[in-house]
Structures are given as C-alpha cells and as structure tokens.
Amino acid sequence: MSDTHAQSVAFVRDTAIPAAPAPANETGPVKWLRENLFATWANALLTVAALFVIYLILSSTLPWILGGVWTTTSLAECREVLAGQTGACFSVLAERWNQLLFGFKYPSELYWRPILALVLLFIAAAPVLFFDLPRKLLIFTALYPFIAFWLIWGGSILVPIVALLGVVGGYLVYSRFVAQSFATGFFGGIVAALIIWYIGGFITEALAPANPMLTAVPSRDLGGFMLNLMLGVTCVSLSIPLGIALALGRQSSMPLIKGICVIFIEFIRGVPLITLLFVASVMLAYFFPPEANVDLFLRVVIMITMFSSAYIAEVIRGGLAALPKGQYEAADSLGLEYAQAMRLIILPQALKISIPGIVNIAVGLFKDTTLVSVISMFDLVGMIRGPILASTEWNGVYWELLGFAALLFFVVCYGISQYSQWLERRLATDHR
C-alpha cells in the first residue's frame, strides 16, 4: 500500500542546486578549439595541414634569421663565420644600408637632407590624412613641395621661391576673379603664375649665386628606396587633381571634351606601365624642343602621373556615378553654376566614396615604382640587382636583400591600406 502511496507524493525541491561548472568540452579553450579547429573530420585535417605548412615555413626561415650574421664585410667572410651552419648574411644590409636607401651616387655628407625632407613629409601629410588636426597646418603642407624640392635637389634657393611666388600670385588672381566667374579666375590664375615663372626664370639665372647654400645634386644621382618614395608621393599627389579633371571631362556633355578624355583614359589603361616607361626613356625626348634637356626623372614623373591619373579618373567616375541623380538636380535647382555645383555639392560626396579606390591605386602605384629599375634607374630593386649583387663582396646574397626590399614595401603598403580602412570607418556617416 505504502508503495503506491509513496509514488504519488510530489517532490518539490526547496533549495537551488548549486551551480555546476559547464562540461569541460563546452567551455574555455577546449570549446574554442573544438569549434574553430576540429569541428569536423575535414576541418581537423585542414588544421593539421595548416599546422604542417606553418611548421615548414618557420623551420626553414627561423634558424636562418636567428643565425644571421651582421658584422662581416663580405659574403666570403660571412661563410667563414657561419662555418657551415644555417644563417643569413645580414651584414650586407648593414654595410650597404645607405646605398639601399639613397642610391650609390647621392653625396653621403648630404644624407641629412632627404632624411629631413622625409620627416617634414610626415608633418605635411598629417593634416591631410587626419582631419582632426588644426587646419592651420595645411599652410605647411602647401609650402612642403617647395621645401622638399630645395632640400633634395639643393641649388639656388631662388628657384623654389620663384615657383612659390608664381603659385601665390596665381592664387591671388584666382581669388580676386573667382567671384565673377570660376573660369575667369581659374585661367587668370594660371596665366598670372606663368607670367611670374617666366620673369622669375630670368631673375634666378641672373642672380644665381656661385656657391648656393645647399650643394646642388643632379637628379640622376637619386636612387634607392628614396627614389621609390619620391616617385610615389610626387606622382600620386600630381595625379589626383588630374584624375578629377579627367573624370569630370569624361562625364561632360560636350562631345569633344568627353572624347578627348575617353581616348586618353582608355589608351593609358590599355597599355602596361612598362611601355609608358619606355616612352619616357627612349621616345619622350623627341617630343621636347631640341634645346630643352628634360632629365629622365622628370620624364618618368610625367609618364607615371599620366598613368595613375587615368586610373584615378576611373575610380572618381565610379564615385560620381554612385551619387543619386537628386544631388545633381538639387544643385541645379539652387541655381548653382557648374563649377559651384561640383565644388560644393558633387565632388565632396563623390571623393568620399572614392577614397578606398584612390588609396588602392596609390598603393598599386607605389609598388609599380619598382618598374623604373627596368629602364636602368637605380631604385631599391635596381640597386639590389645592379651595383650590390654585381659587386665582388656580395655576389650571391639574394635572400637577405630581396627579403629586405619585400619587407620595406610590405610595411609601407600594409600601413597605407590599414589607414584607408580606418578612414573608411571614420567617413561612414550614413547607415549608423
């Protein structure tokens, strides 16, 4: 009897069960491992394969890097020190450090000048890259090209000053007439700048001191990673305004202007950069007046700028096309003329959309500056393949040098792309 009765008594727990720890499989690192590395059999196999790849890479490179020698003066000496053990011969980097960075002709007592120019570059670029900084700094950015030119090439200080005066004069004329019409201001500014430069040309020639404050360095003496950086920075900054103009021209309703822009862009995008560099090295000289002696650096800058401006134009065209038509119509209905509408409404939005694309082009262009080694300019790659590997001391030190070049480019390019991602997040003002 009592049995059946006992079953019908309900059991009600009046105290809470003490919290037990979760099963070992479901917490902490074990759970993470199970979910991320060994979820299924196939996944576990992949993990093992990946571990093996990592082991292969590390086991072949780590002893080589850690056993590296830094203080010898030639490859033969390196091999003696290593005595058959695995190890890199990093001495080549230590011994040829200056050549790798500055080329083999830049006077060594003047290295402080490009270094100072590089430091100033960071200061000049800061207000452009990070717009939380005070806007006053932009004045320095505007002055920077002239300062950098004077620091790197040296020579008479009158040259950059006259160039600067031309720009200032042009700007003054522009701001005087821009209220009337944008076109008058713009072309008036250009004419004023040209006049000042033309007159200034005679003055600098007449007044050029025999011993300038900074020794002049011809541009064929530039080289090494400095050359890559200079080409990259100059060409990207020159090609952004050109690219904007080309993109607007391609959108224009005037068939002739549109036609010129389309042909230019499609032509440049259709040929490899190396053919344009051939143009710079063997062909462009024929198109300058016979007495003008335009040096190779300038010719290369012209061609690379044309190259990157075509690509930037396409990116900006994408930005322009992505704007809703309402924006154009709104600008028109406010009674803004073309230049105002573009400057105040369309371009700020279109450029914002195009920033990631422009940064991609800039990174690609910076990598492409290594191609100048093919037309026998001694940039970083040209230095490595030319003077350093050909020298008797370092003939055969491939991996240290190529690895160093790869590392330098990786650091710069990866840095720029990380910046671009940060900027994209910063600028994402919609869909919050």
Partner: protein, 412 residues
C-alpha cells in the same frame, strides 16, 4: 496698360559666347580643339626637328630585315636569320602563352584562397589572410625576381644529376628540375598524320575532338534538363558524360600512337622531353600567386555579397546544402566575381610585360627590347608595342561588356 515685351532678339554680343548657355559649350569646345591642335602641332614640329637633327625618319622597313638574335623559348620556328617581324610574332605568342597559363593557375589559387578565407577553421582563415596580405603588398617585380632566383640559384645544375651517386635525382624519373629550366616528358605521335611537319595537324585534331566532346556533353545536359522538365525525373548523365569526354580522345591517341619523350641526361645537359625555361616558370608562378591574392579577395567579396537570406530561403525550400551552393549561392556570387576577375586577367596580361626583367622573350623583350636596341627604331617599336597591348585590352574589355550585358539583372 502693360505691354509684354519680348526679350531683345538678334542682338549678339561677344560676351554671350561665354555667358550664354546656348553658346558656351560650343565656345569651350572650339577653344579645346584649338588648344589640342596647337599642342599636337607643337609636339609634331619638335618631333620633326629632332628626327631631322638626328638624321632619322619614321619607317617600318626594319620589320622585314633579319633580326640577328636568338630566342631561347619559341612556340614557332625561329632562327637568328628570321625577320624582326617574326621575332615580334614569337614574342606575341610567348606573351599570350604566359598570360594564359598564369590566368588559369591564378584562378585556381585565388578561388582556393578565397573560399578557405571563409572557412570555419580559424587557423586556415588566418593563414589565408596572411597569404593575401603578404602577396598583395609586395611589388610583383620583387616576386618575379625572387622566384627567378629560386629557379637559377637554388636549383641544381644538370651536372648534379650525373654519376652513380648523384646529388640530385629526377622526380619520379620523369621531371628534372635544373637551373637551366624544368624538363618534363613531352608528348609526340608515332603514327601521326603528315610526318614531322604535320605535327601541328595532329594537335589541332586533338583540340577538335576535345571541343566536340565539350559540345556533346552540353547537348547531353540540355537533353537531361528537358526530360526533367517534362517528367520530373532526371536521367543519370554522369557516366555518359565521362564516356563522351574520355573515349574519343583515348581512341584518337591510340590511333595516332601517342608516346612520351622522357628527358634523360645526355652529356652535360638533359636531352629529350619538353624544356620549360626558368624565366617562363618564374613569370608564370609569380604572376599566379600575386594575382591569386587579388582574385581571392574578389571571390571572398562575391560570396559574402550573397545575402544570408538567400541561403536560408533555399534551405527552407528543402534544397540540400551542396545544391544550395551550386544552384543559389554561386550563380549570384559569380555575377559579382566575374567582372573584377576579368580585369585581373587583363592585369596579368599587362604585368606579363615584366618578362623583360628576367629575360623571358615576350613581346616587350623582343620588340621593345632587343629589336629596339639593335635597330634604334625607338618610336616605331614602342608604338607597335603599345598597339599590341591596346588591342588585347580592348578585346578583353569588349568581351567583358558582352558578358556584363548577358548577366545583367533583368529588371522591368
């Protein structure tokens, strides 16, 4: 009384050319045309004076004269007595060869890395991210030089294969990796049509059979689709398709007597087999892994662009996971992936011009390199070179436009 006056008519002032919107665009275009014509005339005058001073003229006659240099890797017959034009053709074929090979392998690397970047496996995901970042952020020229250095400085010389106890040995006794290039077994026909000279006909025959098989399998799939539409039951096509692919080609090879010419050590070098030069391999492999990193990003973006709702909707309809991928996700992802993929192919073709850095005889190295230096015809050579790349690019982008129009979302 008010009178309505018309705006003044007919009175044309010069300032209207700039301020009246009816005339302004015309004025600007005339100015642009003038500026363009003047600058072209200026450039042309400079060119004419410079050429006259240097005693040169523009002429393409050099194309017919003997080239006078050898090319180590050629697809068609060529010797140093052949014309410059033939050297350029050899270069064009070499460019197309390396571009084609690199496109295929870059797609394989890219798709693999792109899919693995979305894997559930944390380690694999990170490894692929490292691959993509490392290869995207280092110039392709450095990669080409690195792989070329591996090919020339690390690989053993043919003499290392000699002797009773050689330092190096051939892989499976079929492949020899040496610093002069990679030797692989080369196919040839023992009972081929037309003897030695007719060998190209045999290869064309093989290609024709493969193309025929391709269309036959497509017809089979089409028929299976029709039957499925009508009856609801899909006939098994796998075995039939495999048979269509393999039976004819195997029969053809048997008839023609396909044999393999296996490389072997003869004296100081390897003889027999096909020699794939170090420069070709360096360029091919470097372009593949470099562009593969970019393609991986395109593939990842494409797959991620298909919204999760699509997969869930397909699962809700009861479609199996594998078919969800092939019927729902991939067709939509491909629409996003293919256009940038084709522009990567274009990039490969253009980047193949870096062959000149490692001495692979592509069009840039033959026409733009040796021919240019030997004849001094800078302007003509560079123009022809640009023309070639321009034609290739325009062809590829024309193809891309056709494709884009075909897959465009059909909207109302």
């Amino acid at each position: 009384m008010t009178t309505i006056t018309d705006p003044p008519k007919g009175e044309f002032r010069l300032s209207m050319l700039l301020y009246d919107t009816r005339y302004r665009s015309m004025t600007l275009q005339v100015i642009a045309a003038l500026v363009l014509a003047l600058s072209l005339a200026y450039l042309y005058r400079n060119l004419a004076t410079n050429l006259a001073e240097a005693g040169l003229n523009i002429s393409f006659e050099f194309l017919g004269s003997p080239a006078g240099y050898d090319i180590n890797q050629t697809l068609i017959e060529y010797n140093s007595q052949s014309s410059n034009f033939r050297a350029a053709i050899v270069g064009i074929l070499n460019t197309l060869l390396v571009a084609f090979l690199a496109c295929v392998t870059a797609t394989v690397f890219g798709v693999l890395a792109g899919v693995l970047r979305l894997s559930n496996n944390w380690l694999v995901r990170k490894l692929m991210a490292v691959y993509v970042e490392v290869f995207r952020n280092i110039p392709v020229l450095i990669w080409i030089i690195i792989i070329f250095t591996i090919m020339t400085a690390v690989m053993p010389s043919p003499s290392a294969f000699r002797g009773d106890d050689p330092d190096s040995s051939m892989l499976f006794d079929l492949f020899a990796f040496t610093n002069r290039g990679v030797y692989v077994p080369g196919p040839y026909f023992t009972r081929g049509i037309g003897g030695e000279e007719g060998s190209i006909i045999n290869w064309l025959l093989v290609i024709a059979v493969l193309v025929g098989s391709f269309f036959a399998t497509r017809a089979m799939t089409h028929r299976a689709n029709n039957i499925q539409e009508k009856t609801g039951v899909r006939p098994k096509t796998l075995w039939i398709n495999l048979a269509i692919w393999f039976v004819p080609i195997i029969l053809l090879c048997l008839v023609l007597g396909l044999a393999w010419d296996i490389p072997e050590l003869k004296g100081f070098n390897f003889g027999g087999g096909l020699k794939v030069g170090g420069p070709l391999i360096a360029l091919w492999f470097a372009l593949s892994i470099y562009t593969g990193a970019f393609i991986a990003e395109n593939v990842r973006a494409g797959i991620q662009s298909v919204s999760k709702g699509q997969t869930e909707a397909a699962s809700a309809l009861g479609i199996r996971p594998r078919r969800v991928m092939s019927l729902v996700v991939l067709p939509q992802a491909l629409r996003v992936i293919i256009p940038p993929l084709i522009s990567q192919y274009l990039n490969i073709t253009k980047n193949s011009s870096l062959a000149i850095a490692v001495g692979y005889a592509d069009i840039t190295a033959t026409l733009g390199g040796i021919t240019l230096n030997q004849t001094g015809r800078a302007i003509e050579c560079v123009l022809l070179l640009m023309l070639f790349y321009l034609v290739i690019s325009l062809l590829i982008s024309a193809g891309m436009n056709v494709y884009n129009n075909a897959i465009k979302l059909k909207e109302r």
